[in-house]
């Protein structure tokens, strides 16, 4: 099961700032575990940001993103209470999502 996500979306000066944290190992496939075995490639490939159900950012990312990814996106305008959703899918097909209201 995927670990927790955390997100906050704040409106200030006509711009909504969305910061989202995700739990993910983002394994490069080149790291060795303590027993010397290669840890298989395992990383998030897509992150999607939606506002009130509409996709506004589509991201494609690689294993070059740091472990436990953190992204900040910005949306022009928006209103308090707007529904912000972020979802991800990794190379194993695992997914997770979270949502919050603009504060």
């Amino acid at each position: 099961m995927a670990g927790p996500m955390k997100m906050r979306a704040t409106l200030s000066g006509g711009v909504t700032d969305v910061r989202v944290l995700m739990t993910h190992p983002m394994e490069t496939g080149q790291r060795k575990d303590p027993d010397g075995k290669l840890v298989p490639l395992h990383f998030i490939q897509n992150v999607t940001l939606k506002v009130n159900g509409k996709t506004v950012v589509e991201s494609q990312i690689s294993q070059g993103i740091s472990r436990n990814p953190v992204f900040t996106f910005r949306i022009k305008g928006g209103a308090k209470g707007d529904r912000i959703e972020v979802s991800w899918i990794d190379n194993h097909g695992e997914t997770n999502q979270t949502e919050t209201a603009v504060a």
């Binding site: 589509e58 494609q60 690689s62 993103i65 990814p69 949306i75």
Partner: protein
């Protein structure tokens, strides 16, 4: 399903080997295609396999149709010049190029330089802050796409050793 609707998988340049080396031509709008053809965008999204598998920044840029981007000071990279640890290097990117629809981030010296591509639509500002792995001292290369043209900025990030090293 994935490969059919993935513009990034099939580089337009592959089909147009003689494409203009100066400014690359208009690109299919990834996001639009994804939305129209796939109601659950996140669950069956596009992923540029060739670009992320490329071993040099130049090869990765080819897959984005951005072989010869124009240097621009409107692409702004905010990142430390020295990182204490290469595992987490914060990079903040803003494109002030009017009409920017996507931003690609590359770390030249990484084994696979392309670390992310972000498509913006419906009021999202061409801005992203992320944490990237930077294996050794390297250029960070950011390519913004606006109205079919590509613009680039770079910055060197030095990676040092922190702490006792033991």
């Amino acid at each position: 399903m994935r490969s059919k609707v993935t513009p990034g998988d099939q580089s337009p340049l592959k089909n147009r080997p003689n494409a203009s080396p100066v400014v690359s031509g208009p690109q299919p709008v990834n996001g639009l295609a994804a939305i129209v053809l796939k109601p659950f965008a996140a669950l069956a999204a596009t992923w540029n396999k060739d670009g992320f598998g490329a071993k040099t920044a130049a090869d990765a840029l080819k897959t984005l149709g951005a072989s010869n981007p124009v240097a621009s000071r409107d692409v702004v990279i905010e990142a430390p010049q020295i990182a204490e640890n290469g595992a987490v290097v914060p990079i903040e990117i803003t494109s002030n190029v009017p009409g920017t629809t996507s931003i690609a981030v590359l770390i030249d010296k990484n084994p696979f330089p392309l670390v992310g591509k972000f498509d913006f639509m419906e009021g999202a500002l061409p801005f992203v802050k992320l944490n990237a792995k930077v294996g050794e001292t390297s250029e960070v290369r950011v390519v913004a796409e606006a109205l079919g043209k590509h613009y680039v900025a770079t910055q060197e990030i030095k990676v040092t050793i922190g702490g006792c090293g033991g």
